[in-house]
């Protein structure tokens, strides 16, 4: 499959040259028809007066779409020439865009159901600089997209081999499967997701749908039914009412679980994470197939997220940010926010070693924050507890609220527990932070990826001579803000910050 390395190419001969797939026209028309069909129905059915006008309007719209598509299809071309991907479009105003291959961070390939029928894909090319996609090639044949991806990967590998960070490996062309998620993994993923929310969402959707479709008389009948049963229940007593409530809640929970399991399976079906040299590749999806590849040396931050429920089962989620990754609202639905949706805790070390080959030998130990954090956290917790107690006493007008005071030792104990968890580790290559009590998170930043380092002291910090250290990186969309660690003694924070900045300034810049 692999052709010669574009690294050594003379800029004259294009390595790869192509146009959009002819189906661009057909699929584009189908998509626009689909978006027109719903507004069209009422006009065609009911609009006696406007029927012909309406049909004319839709005809015009369709012709307009077709013309745009034709222009786009005939004017769009792309090629890889020398070290650049060049796209060219436009009929009257020509636009030629040159994207240096080593600036390409991620290539995403998506294929929805319709596109799967014709075996064509949509390819999106991301760089660090641009907001959103740098180039969108819609649609290409699948083999063409694959060629494009490989050309870029080969270039990236050649670049990487030239630098010292990851020595060139003989097996560069072999694809190594890092992790494959089976149905069982996905069911577990669904069961441990935040399923109550999805249950509520689905109930909301059903309600909205029912609101549109059902005639009002059904509402009235349902209202009557509810009123009658509720009245009966109250007559039977509180126990029956509570039972009904519990059954209702359990029902919502079960619906939620089922929905989120189905969601997980559909979204992440056949999730496969592979590595080819420096390039990480993931593909997944039952209906819409998605694939994306990113070079692992571009990972700016990696987050090991152990949510509360997942932690109980020994599970974690891996998220990663590359530079300039911009989060879009739909990303979560597309599964773009995770590097690996679910991983068992005992395989984490092996996985991390794939993303950061030097992590295991980094030889750094975890350091705790200042023990003052316990006192401070306990104080804050007990103040909050006190306020809750006062509110409870004031509203119930009984002194039983004081019983809440029994929770104070628990608050203290929780803070002792978290003191033993919160911490950081500074090695020669990586900076790591760890936090959380019930749900935990670990951030790993390669030191060479750190940008501005900030040490901040609030007035409260100053009283205890503590500070918060945070490390800025070039991408933080999916890992949730700068990796940071609070409650460090000021001197220690400054020292860590200076060491980090010094090390970062010695490492070469690359994103």
């Amino acid at each position: 499959m692999q052709t010669e390395k574009p690294f050594s190419a003379q800029p004259t001969a294009p390595l790869l040259e192509g146009r959009l797939h002819p189906l661009t026209l057909v699929l584009g028309l189908i998509t626009s028809l689909r978006s027109l069909i719903i507004p069209a129905i009422p006009i065609l059915l009911f609009g006696n007066k406007f029927r012909w006008g309406g049909i004319g309007l839709f005809g015009l719209l369709l012709i307009g779409t077709a013309v745009t598509l034709l222009i786009r299809y005939f004017s769009f071309s792309y090629r890889i020439q020398g070290r650049e991907l060049v796209t060219r479009e436009g009929l009257i105003e020509r636009k030629e865009r040159h994207i240096p291959l080593d600036q390409i961070h991620e290539i995403r390939i998506e294929q929805n159901l319709l596109q799967r029928v014709f075996d064509v894909v949509e390819a999106v090319i991301e760089t660090a600089g641009a907001e959103g996609a740098e180039a969108k090639l819609s649609v290409l044949s699948r083999t063409e997209a694959e060629r494009l991806r490989e050309a870029v990967a080969a270039r990236s590998a050649a670049k990487k081999a030239a630098s010292s960070e990851f020595p060139a490996r003989p097996e560069t062309n072999e694809r190594e499967v890092i992790r494959k998620l089976g149905i069982r993994d996905l069911v577990v993923h669904g069961l441990t997701s935040n399923h109550l929310l999805s249950a509520l969402a689905i109930l909301g959707a059903i309600w909205a749908f029912a609101d549109d479709v059902l005639p009002n008389s059904i509402y009235e009948r349902m209202g009557k039914f509810l009123k009658v049963t509720a009245g009966e229940m109250f007559r039977q007593g509180l126990r029956a009412a509570l039972l009904a409530l519990a059954v209702g809640l359990a029902g919502v929970m079960i619906v939620g679980l089922i929905v989120s399991v189905i969601g997980s399976v559909v979204k992440f079906f056949n999730y496969t994470l592979t590595r080819q040299g420096d390039e990480l590749h993931r593909s997944y999806g039952l209906l819409t197939r998605r694939a994306s590849s990113l070079p692992r040396h571009r990972i700016q931050v990696l987050k090991v997220e152990e949510g509360m429920i997942r932690r109980w089962f020994g599970l974690a989620t891996l998220r990663a940010d590359i530079s300039g990754s911009q989060k879009e609202d739909s990303d979560d639905n597309k599964g773009r926010d995770v590097l690996l949706p679910i991983a068992w805790r005992d395989e984490l070390d092996a996985l991390l070693a794939v993303f950061f080959p030097k992590l295991a030998g980094d030889g750094s130990e975890w350091k705790k924050v200042s023990p003052l954090a316990i006192r401070r956290g306990a104080k804050a917790g007990i103040i909050i507890l006190g306020i809750i107690t006062i509110v409870v006493i004031a509203t119930t007008k009984s002194w039983w609220g004081l019983g809440l005071g029994l929770l104070a030792p628990l608050v203290y104990w929780l803070n002792v527990k978290s003191y033993h968890i919160f911490g950081y580790s500074l090695g020669s290559q990586y900076f790591r932070t760890r936090q959380g009590l019930l749900g935990r998170a670990m951030h790993i930043v390669p030191i060479e990826k750190s940008q501005v380092i900030v040490v901040r002291q609030s007035p409260f910090d100053r009283r205890l001579n503590l500070a918060t250290l945070s490390v800025d990186t070039a991408g933080q969309s999916y890992t949730g803000g700068s990796p940071s660690i609070s409650n460090l003694p000021l001197d220690e924070a400054l020292q860590v910050a200076r060491t980090l900045a010094g090390e970062a300034s010695r490492a070469g810049t690359n994103f």
């Binding site: 030998g361 020669s428 501005v452 901040r456 800025d472 070039a474 900045a501 810049t509």
Partner: protein, 173 residues
């Protein structure tokens, strides 16, 4: 390669002392805040006078309140800038720029100089009047992507900028 102890890599003794900003920055900040006082308080005085005309009974109270707020703000404009100036400092070697600022929230920022993407030198009309400028240093970061040093003497800002840009050039080679 091997784990390095923290203490070895940072030799505290070699750190240069922090450079202060140009003292004219105090004047600049005072004038800037006083302009803000004028912009907000003069129109509100007109409002106060008009409503005093309609509500003569409350007039004294309203005018006194206005006077109190205005003088409080004016006092703040005199009191705060020297303290802000005191809190500000920066130092720079051939690798890292470090700034510290803020009195209530004290912040230290460290910028590894090879992370610098570009440097802006900015001068507003007031700053021009006082011969000052501010440097904006941009990185590829996200939440703390840029770092601003205000209140530098213009020549000093130009010198710093040229130094930083020159560093970037040698980096590229």
């Amino acid at each position: 390669m091997e784990a390095r102890a923290l203490v070895e890599t940072t030799s505290q003794s070699s750190l240069e002392p922090f450079q202060p900003l140009d003292p004219r920055a105090i004047k600049l900040w005072r004038v800037a805040e006083q302009i803000a006082v004028a912009v907000f308080m003069l129109p509100s005085l007109i409002g106060v006078l008009i409503s005093s005309y309609w509500q003569p009974k409350a007039a004294v109270l309203m005018i006194a309140g206005w006077g109190f707020l205005t003088s409080l703000w004016l006092w703040h404009s005199l009191w705060q800038p020297p303290r802000r100036y005191q809190a500000w400092g920066y130092r720079i070697d051939d690798r890292v720029l470090e700034t510290r600022s803020g009195r209530i929230f004290q912040t230290t920022r460290l910028l590894p100089l090879n992370r610098l993407q570009h440097v802006d030198l900015q001068q507003g009309p007031l700053e021009r009047m006082y011969g000052l400028a501010r440097l904006e240093l941009h990185t590829a970061g996200t939440q703390n992507a840029s770092l601003t040093i205000p209140g530098l003497a213009h020549e000093e800002a130009v010198r710093l900028r040229d130094y930083l840009v020159a560093l970037g050039d040698t980096d590229a080679n």
